[in-house]
Symmetry: D2
Subunit: 371 residues, 4 copies
């Protein structure tokens, strides 16, 4: 439903880039979950621009939890988070000049010219700060019952991070190790291969931008969660992932590569391990069979398009004056959002995992534990 | 919500492969839409196995519309469709032997051993017959207001259909031509390249299976439909697409390829044509900016994994006896479902387009026309 | 959502009075619940006309469960129920003559003249046969965890059933006795006071009809179920109750009478009993405080308007010819539906209780028991 | 869904009485609706205590619209409203002493002792300030297309306001006059009969409280809005009305009184007036037939229980120490909330009307007008 997602644990997003504030409301999370504000701040810091390759607009994201948390714990009623916009730009906007690949034109058509166009308005990536803040609370709830999520940069432009991939782990047997590797790998640029950093810097120098692919692993999810058809784990995850501005592709497990395999290659062989636990020898299905978790890590990739805002001169339209025109986007922008997007994908995934677990076991699962 | 999807026009699916019947309920479609039963039958025929490469289970899909249609038109109340299962198999099933990449094991965990396991039960691709039947009604409603959907096989295994691709059309200017090409291309095997047919036959001979990528184009959607965030066109479409059994990847426009481009390459330049209509010179964004249609064709690809059921001997588990075992799937199965899946993707897409249009303009849009 | 209700356990209704079939789909009920077909038949029999005061249209309600039940138990996937219409009337209908207090005119306006008007179409009380059938399955699920629902006729026309009322029981201490009294009291006319039977017969003789008030008690619900605001127990129950054709008023506990009390009279005093169980000395709040169950019986009354179809000549309009006219409804109709409506209210209430319990404890509550 | 209601236009509520802030998010309202802040302030003033009979906690309700409004008009994206809590009470609370008829005990059970109990927390009537603020925006949207809502005190305790009742108007013919009477009657105590004022004062003197019945009329709604079954106008309205703390009964039209009538008395005779407009000679059905508006005023009554907080000594439990105890609620409280509740009911009704209209005509109805 538009700006609300989730069956049992839901998230509502609101706000515009240059309005008073952005924010989020989490509903349905059970009472008694500890809220660690340091953790929230740390998650927000992962989303903030840093270093010389990101946008210079640095806001400290002074979020405020205005309801739903009492004595450091969730109350079970809606958790409302407000992040005031402090660094809003009062400069004149070129309203009417559609930035290519942005929502300027489509917003104009949909909202009849009444949209808050400043800085992308409600379409701005800034809204994801509220998502990250909410996601931090949800990630803590998940962590409390042994579910962990991690996202790293699999590739950026044409460069892959050859130093690491979920596929290269012995995922079937080494879940804990995998968990550590993915979750500990705070995906700052320092963790990227030199080639990726170079690619970003080159794009930046050319007043251009670059995209990439993020890979996410979720470990600790029990088998049996999700549903066939419309509440499949893939459906729920992709729904939220595709709500993020730059995501143009999502694939689970081996995804598009799987379409090129033979069945005998793609099928994940089930086995019992020595402890009587079921695992699969490969994980081409990304931990999901028939829409339901099979106990293996949930693995998926998200394709991020290059940041639409570039410094180069671009052809476009002026939809107010109804003419073709040109545009040179002023100011500095992220040449690549892949690094900052990792924590956003983690947060979006946390929403889905929380909702799926609450649907399967009741919302009390976060206090009682699984089963 | 589990087996129901849609905000204003919703679809509910039910049934098991070898139970009494499968079916669907469409709710929210306005009164007065003509229902052409010949069209429904024709759509169902596209989903039926045919030729020597498909499964020999041929059911005539004798659907019955038991409510919601009166004097050949929709009444505005729920349209319930029942398709009895006539060719159910009474043979003993190897319950407990998990077919790799199937939902046997996950269903067992989720449903505590109470699932109807016969022929895949509720997870069976057979349920898509009900979706196609419902989709046929929705596609007619769309056609009445100028929206058309078509899906073709972009690749199968490692072979691409080089004879055709949405990307190779002059999509910006030749929407009608594109529409004709995609929609007229009834994607029977006869339309595939020889290489694709050969690949399928080879897989079949080797008791193996093969996947592929389907490409879909939707034309005639006005600009301004969809929403930022959770009701983005991408979110809604991917939600339904990933509810289909074999889909493991979805990408819009240039999708994963776009993640390798520079912004200056990826950005779709807006232009006014001589009639004052807005178009984009490229369509890397697949007709969607910020979750909202921009008036260009909506284009997306769906990665279909190879059919899990193969004749080859496979290692797996017996989850009743809790041991490792082997499995040789008996009977003949589809070596590739890419051909039959095209109409299923069209139907799923029709549900989303109808719902998005009803959300934007009210459900009466199908009688009044757009705006 | 139109014809679907419920967050975690949902019901979808479809069908028209004189179409092919009516039916229902239950979604979300967990696997492994036993389905007792004798119980379903018995419930349906309570809704059927009987004796000389009901409509002579007797259909045997040959329901068929076409999915979701396997080996006598629920599978966890959608339970679809079909009830074919066998006794449909082929006589000419006076289409255009709006029966007063019926939906003929409003349906015509809403559906632009495309509605299936025969016998009330989708508005017909006949649809409640599907609700009762679905409700029977849900009532069994509730019974398995100790929750029971019973409805009796509190008044009919101006006559009250002085022999029985929830308020006259010692509800705080004698829950089991209450339960027995309400639930065992199969509310056939034989259980009504002579005055009520006489009132109905008099209405019938005068070609008129009569309404009444039904009182429902639900026992066995644990404290702590429901939510403040929009998922309050009152909100959820009233939502479904007011979806039933003849219901024009709903009150919880002492309801409208409570509006005349002083706070010192109306407040229910909390007490611990000797076993340390909390109860309230009165139950003016009907077992609900702040939208959440307090462990006392949930008690509510539903006002049923007199059956709109009467034999007397009535003034009305012909909305096709746009003139005032007169109408004499032919055939025989129920002079009162209060008796037949009891099981319908039980069924509707069962849907809400199941959904609330699933939301509070997870859908598995029906197998695991409460907590 | 818990704290969110509405299919196409939804409202999310959050906040606790003594937390940082309360607030609301409206989603789905179309772009371009003018937001008159004076009107919002005026609506809030109707809800504020005034005179010597109300609670002395007076907060100026300094609301802030932090998103969704730009240049004085709605943008079409979520409208978030924040009302900081300034007059929060830092005094020690008797946590564990269950105030009778309040949610203290049920909240404790549901939230495992983690609830924010201060001043009723999320259950507090204070949350309705956010609802009134949101409702003011929705009422303006309705007014723009000719729909008006008014609520007055029909009775208070055992005293009726004999000077006015919807039933006493010639509602069929004098819609505008009715509208004026209901809507202009700003239901301050000054408009009440002397007897009602006296009853409230007497309750106050006796350290007691008193309830009442509110009557609401909605005029200007076109015929054909709403749905049979779960989206019936009655279902939707009662759902939201029963989410309000003190409401224990809701009846439409003649409601419970109708259950005592004969069909020949209760049936509303349809007629064409001289202009060819359909009306009914009586309005026992409250403007709704089969769940759908018939063009007559929508009329309903809400039973408000006496304010639970009274100054008299009351028996109750201490649920922390698990003993019976006594309670004397300190401070001064509203002896009656009927006056302040009128604008709350108007606001709740506005949400439902907006949602129903958006569902019937699309959300753009508020700009385009009806049809």
């Amino acid at each position: 439903m538009k700006n609300t997602f989730g069956n049992n644990i839901s998230l509502t997003l609101f706000g515009e880039s240059h309005g008073e504030a952005i924010g989020a409301v989490i509903d349905g999370l059970c009472a008694g979950i500890e809220v660690d504000e340091e953790y929230i701040k740390n998650q927000l810091s992962k989303r903030r621009p840093s270093g010389n390759t990101d946008t210079p607009r640095v806001e400290m994201d002074e979020y405020k939890i205005v309801s739903g948390v009492f004595n450091g714990k969730t109350t079970g009623t809606p958790i409302a988070i407000i992040i005031p916009n402090t660094n809003t730009n009062s400069k004149a906007y070129n309203y009417g000049i559609a930035r290519p690949s942005h929502a300027d034109y489509t917003a104009y058509v949909k909202y009849d010219g009444c949209e808050d166009y400043r800085g992308g308005g409600h379409f701005s990536g800034r809204i994801t700060a509220a998502l990250v803040c909410a996601g931090a609370i949800l990630l803590q709830a998940l962590k409390g019952i042994g579910v962990k999520i991690g996202t790293h940069i699999l590739s950026c432009g044409k460069e892959s991070d050859v130093s690491f991939s979920v596929a290269s782990c012995d995922v079937e047997r080494e879940i804990d190790k995998l968990n550590a590797r993915v979750c500990d790998a705070i995906p700052f640029l320092s963790d990227c291969s030199d080639k990726i950093r170079e690619a970003i810097n080159n794009a930046s120098k050319n007043k251009d931008s670059i995209g990439g692919v993020l890979q996410t692993a979720i470990v600790g999810m029990p088998a049996g969660v999700g549903d066939p058809w419309f509440d499949s784990v893939e459906s729920m995850l992709s729904h939220v992932l595709f709500s993020l501005g730059g995501v143009k592709g999502v694939e689970f497990g081996s995804g598009f590569e799987m379409s090129k395999m033979y069945g005998s290659q793609a099928n994940d062989v089930f086995r019992y391990d020595e402890k009587g636990q079921v695992y699969t020898e490969t994980n081409n299905n990304g931990g999901i069979n028939g829409g339901i978790t099979n106990g293996m890590p949930i693995v998926f990739n998200s394709a991020i398009k290059p940041t639409p805002s570039i410094g180069k001169m671009q052809e476009t339209i002026d939809f107010i004056n109804k003419t073709n025109t040109q545009l040179e986007v002023k100011g500095r922008h992220d040449p690549a959002i892949v690094r900052r997007a990792c924590v956003v994908v983690d947060s979006a995934s946390a929403l889905v995992m929380c909702d799926l677990l609450a649907s399967a076991y009741g919302t009390g699962v976060f206090k009682r534990g699984i089963k």
